[in-house]
Structures are given as C-alpha cells and as structure tokens.
C-alpha cells in the first residue's frame, strides 16, 4: 500500500544556520518524533478540555488511558514490563508537551512515572516490579507517593507514620498529607518509621494497594491550581500489608525518598516548562492580535521586553532540565543539576504566568482566556517535590562539596 504525503519541514528545533550540533541545540530524531506526537496529543485532546477539567475538578481518566496506550505513563519502564523503554530526556519532553496542553494532566503523568514507578523500578524486586509496575503502565491504573505528613513536609526525616511488624505482616499507623492522585490511585509508595531511635535512618518504604482495609482518604483539597488532580490525606489505622510489601531494605526509606525526589525534580521541572511555555504562547499570540495606540501591542517595547524575558526564562530552564535528564541517562551524578532545573523552571513558570496575565491585561484576569489558569497551575511547581528553598539548600550543599578541598 502506498500513501501520499506532504513535505515535512521541522522548524524551531534546529537553530537556523547552526552547523555544529551540540545535543542541547538539536534533539535526536526519535526524541523529536516523540515530542511531536505528545505535542499533537496535547494540542488536539488536552488543550480543548483543560479549562473544563480545571473548572469542574475532573480527573482526566480517559486521557490518562489514551496516554497509557501511547506509552507516556511509563516512559522509562523497559518494554518487558510494559513500558516505552525510552530515556529520561524523552520522559522530560513528554511531560513538558503534555503539561503545555493541561498542567493537571502533566502532573498525573509525572507523579505516576517519577514518584510511583520510579522508586519501584530502582529498588523493587523483579516480582514487585511485575506486580506493582506492569498494571500501572497502561493508564488503567495510576499510583501515588506518600511522604509528606501534616507535621512535616520539607522536614521529611521526621516521619511520624509508624510501621510495626506483627507476624507475617506490617501494621501501619499515621497520616500522610498533600498526596497527589490520592483519590484516583490504585496503589501508593508510602514511607513509615520502622525504627524510631534511628531517626531518618529508621524510615522504610512500603507498597500499599488502594483501596485497602485500614487505609482511608481525607477530603479532597480545594486547590488554587492543578485542580483536575485529587489531593488529600491518606489515613492509616492499623493498615496491614504482607512483609513482602516492603520496598528496598529496612531503614533505606529516606534514601529511597531522596533519590526518587531527585529524579522527580526533572519531571516537575518539565511540567513547569510546559506551563511556562503555554503562558508565553498565550501572551505572544495576544500581542499579535490585540491592537492599542493604533498598532498590535507586540509593537510596544514594554510588551516586547516582557516576552523576551519570558522566552529567556523558559529556554534557559529548559536547557538546565535537558542537561539534568541527559546526566541521569548517562548515569552521572545529577542531583545539583536536577535541583537547579526544578528551581529555574518553577520560577520561570510563575514568572511567565504572572507576565502573561499582564500582557493580556483585563483579558488575562478572566476565565475566557487560559492565562489565569496557567498562573494558578504554575504556583504549585515552586512548592511540591521540594520547595524552592529546599532546592537552594540542595544546590548550595552540592556546590560547597565541590569547593571543599
């Protein structure tokens, strides 16, 4: 069978006239293709419904299934386990493009990939991977990550959720707070203290199916942004799970959490990039169309300076994110770069969200235009998976280590 096709010229991914291809200036062909397929999906399937999902707090179940079928819910998972078998750079591109269409959906993709599947892929046994990863690659089921508690967010070492062994079971008690995907998840990676005397070295990680006796959900939080995701407390009251549900070794929970968040940072940076780009796209488009003082407002330097600053913020954060992803793929240390990426991207997202509304003026303040949603969606990226303040501590810590000696 034969088909006709138009010429396809790729614009914007190749710096015009650039002969030397550093891998940060032009992505490999496969990555370009997968970026394009995610972008097409986001433009056609997410963009048109994002406003509705936000207004009505609707979890995008059908879209998550479709993304699962595309392999986007398990980008890094090997094909043998049901994933797409691609690298972290591909994952970062996927999350960015999906988030550009809908910030909430991008969050669901990121949490499932980095925070739920991530630690199981890295620390789980083969049996655990088959049981807890494979069903979560198709989009039929999503997972969540329960570390924060009402009493400690940034202070993750102070986990007050307890796990005691009783015969062939672990019994968990405590409350986890701010858990993304909670009401839509079918399993969670959860952290509890197994040895209080060892402080943060006494925390272990567990796999708990949802729903499960002894595990209940608090009320859904009414959030400023990413409203299509569900955020709630996880309440554990004598929640019993088999011994085989411990993830990794006893006492390694804190290490697992920190390493998971390292990678998760690249995911959130990508989500922030998508939101920032969407805000920039909205503002730049408006600048072409809206006329004032006799010409499109894009002719005014005040507007031009804003657009330029937004573009620089996004592009520099993007390159930081790609670099962090590439370092991870090369199995090199990437903690500092991931923290830098997350910091830069989340601050770029809030900056672009803010300036985008400013460019749109009154139109930016009403729900007719997506600028206000980008502004609201952007805000969380500076908070979860490590606040901007924590990122600064991580970066400074790594820097000082480099200079010590």
């Amino acid at each position: 069978t034969l088909v006709t096709a138009l010429v396809r010229v790729s614009l914007g991914l190749c710096v015009s006239g650039c002969r030397s291809l550093s891998s940060l200036a032009e992505l490999p062909e496969m990555h370009q293709m997968m970026r394009q397929t995610c972008r097409d999906y986001a433009d056609r399937e997410l963009g048109p419904i994002a406003g509705k999902l936000d207004k009505e707090h609707l979890f995008p179940a059908q879209q998550v299934r479709e993304l699962g079928a595309m392999g986007v819910m398990a980008v890094e998972v090997p094909e043998a386990l049901g994933g797409a078998g691609m690298d972290y750079l591909a994952y970062s591109l996927a999350v960015e493009e999906i988030s550009r269409g809908c910030g909430s959906t991008g969050c669901v993709v990121s949490v499932n990939n980095s925070l739920y599947i991530g630690p199981i892929l890295k620390f789980g046994t083969q049996k655990q991977k088959e049981q807890w990863i494979t069903p979560f690659t198709t989009g039929e089921k999503v997972g969540c990550f329960a570390l924060s508690e009402p009493g400690n967010g940034s202070d993750a070492g102070a986990a007050s959720t307890l796990a005691r062994q009783e015969g062939e079971e672990w019994v968990l008690n405590g409350t986890k707070a701010w858990i993304t995907n909670s009401w839509d998840a079918s399993a969670t990676v959860i952290f509890a203290t197994t040895d209080k005397s060892l402080k943060h070295k006494g925390i272990s990680a567990f796999l708990v199916p949802m729903p499960h006796p002894g595990l209940s959900l608090g009320k859904k939080e009414d959030k400023l942004g990413i409203r299509a995701t569900s955020t709630a407390n996880l309440i554990l009251e004598d929640c019993r799970i088999p011994l085989g549900n411990m993830l990794g070794s006893r006492g390694s929970g804190f290490k697992i959490a920190m390493q998971t968040l390292d990678s998760g940072r690249i995911g959130i940076a990508s989500q922030a990039l998508g939101i920032a780009q969407a805000a920039l796209d909205c503002a730049a488009d408006y600048a072409h169309k809206r006329t004032a003082f006799g010409a499109p407002i894009g002719k005014l330097q005040a507007v031009q300076f804003k657009l330029a600053d937004m573009a620089v913020a996004v592009e520099s954060a993007r390159l930081l994110t790609w670099k962090a992803a590439m370092l991870k793929d090369a199995k090199k240390p990437f903690t500092k770069e991931a923290a830098m990426a997350k910091l830069a991207a989340s601050e770029a997202a809030t900056f672009c969200g803010h300036q985008s509304i400013q460019v749109l003026g009154g139109m930016g303040y009403v729900t007719d235009m997506p600028a206000e949603r980008h502004y609201r969606d952007a805000r969380i990226t500076e908070i979860y998976e490590g606040t901007s303040e924590i990122q600064r501590l991580v970066i400074a810590g790594q820097l000082l280590k480099e200079y010590a000696s």
């Binding site: 034969l2 088909v3 096709a5 138009l6 396809r8 010229v9 496969m30 394009q36």
Partner: protein, 240 residues
C-alpha cells in the same frame, strides 16, 4: 498546523520555505486504515511512500511509527518538485505498485494544499485497476473489497476486485497517535531511496501555472431598510 499562507511576490505560487509541514490529514487516515487491515491480518505488509525532497523522510518515519513496515522515498526536489502534480505522482505510484506487486494502493482522497483530488483516480487509471474513492468504510472479503463511498447523494456501496486503489475520506477512521514504543521501533525500519528516473517516470508537467492570487478581500456589507432600497442599490452598483 495552523499557518498563515502567503502568496509569493512573483505570484508563481505560495511560500513553502520555512513553513511547518506535516502528513496530509487524509493520508494519515489512509495509513491508519492500512495498519488496521494489517492488524486484522488481511494484508501482510504496509509500505509507506512519499515523493519529495529530503524532508519527506520525516513524514515517512511518522508513518513507520504508526505501524507501516517499511518506507520508500522517491526523491524529487527543486524545479521538478515545484512542478510536480497529481499526474507525475500517479505515474510514480503506478510504477511502484507494479514493482512491489501491491494488492492495494491506499491514498488520502486529496491533499489539503492543492485540493486536487486526482492522484488516486489517475493511479487507478494508469494501472487499469478498479478504484474505491471517498471511502468511509473498507471491508476485505476474500479477493474483493467492499467500499462504502461518501457521495453527494449519500452513501454508495461497491464491491471491487483486488488489486485496487482506495482513497480515504474523513470518516473512514480516527488515526492513532504514534506510540512511544513504535517510535523506537520505527528507527530500525528501512526507508529505500530512489528517483523517478529509476522508475522510468518523466516528471515533465503538462500543466503550467500562470498566476496565483489571494482571494479578493471581502468588502463590508451595507444594511438597507426596505426591499425597494435593496433593488435600487443592486441596480446602482450594476448587479442587476
């Protein structure tokens, strides 16, 4: 893609340099149908073909990522490419269909840049094969193909023998998004390279484009109060 199309200053055509291109939407539907037929085990192999300059290979790779088995890039560039029309493409496809011993040639019903709606029909004529155009439903039944066609009067169902040419209409199917694993697999699939001369096709156009213009700008309308006013105005501007 949503792009603003501009006429070239010399009115010889539209500006395509630097304009983002992608697979023709009707061709996406054609590729999807071919891949579906293969998944249902009615056909063995799907070959994606495109005629044009180097950039065309990206589109072929997208077809491979959707599930085609291999690709053929017929290289046409420069002046030949600008002059290329349905007749030249149909000749290339007819030659390839014979060379590859294809049982079906599935195309989009028309390309959305020139809206010619001729290539499929011309290909069938050159091959002397039956054609099922504007297909909204395709069913393979032994050595025959049942095609439901969208025509002005409604739907027409025909049965044609293979080998045949089909052209895809809008409602035939909803093209799939290339999945990430398939994009990975597409990397390993082969794209053969050839020139029209290799197929014995002469690319000389029988059509000469005299001039390309934008449609006239729409003028503002005028409101009138009565029918008499309307008739008077129509007479005044020479319409009646």
């Amino acid at each position: 893609y949503i792009v603003t199309i501009r006429v070239k200053p010399d009115h010889s055509g539209v500006v395509t340099d630097g304009v983002k291109h992608s697979m023709n939407p009707f061709c996406e539907i054609a590729v999807e149908e071919a891949v579906k037929l293969k998944e249902k085990k009615f056909i063995k192999e799907v070959v994606a073909v495109s005629c044009g300059p180097t950039q065309v290979t990206e589109t072929i790779r997208t077809a491979l990522a959707m599930g085609c088995d291999r690709g053929i890039h017929v290289e046409v560039s420069g002046k030949d490419y600008e002059a290329m029309g349905p007749l030249q493409i149909a000749k290339i496809f007819a030659a390839l269909a014979k060379k590859e011993e294809a049982s079906l040639v599935i195309l989009g019903k028309q390309a959305i840049d020139d809206d010619c709606n001729q290539t499929g029909q011309m290909t069938a004529a050159l091959l002397d094969w039956p054609q099922g155009t504007f297909a909204s439903e395709v069913t393979i039944d032994g050595e025959k193909v049942k095609v439901v066609r969208e025509i002005d009067g409604g739907l027409e169902t025909i049965k044609i023998s293979m080998p045949a040419v089909l052209t895809a209409d809008l409602r035939l199917n909803t093209p799939r998004y290339a999945t990430l694993p398939n994009i990975m697999k597409a990397k390993k699939k082969k794209i053969a390279n050839m020139k029209p001369a290799d197929l014995g096709v002469d690319m000389v156009s029988r059509v000469e484009v005299l001039r390309v213009d934008e449609p006239p700008t729409r003028l503002a309308g005028v409101k009138v109060e009565t029918v008499d006013d309307l008739v008077a105005k129509l007479k005044a501007n020479g319409t009646i």
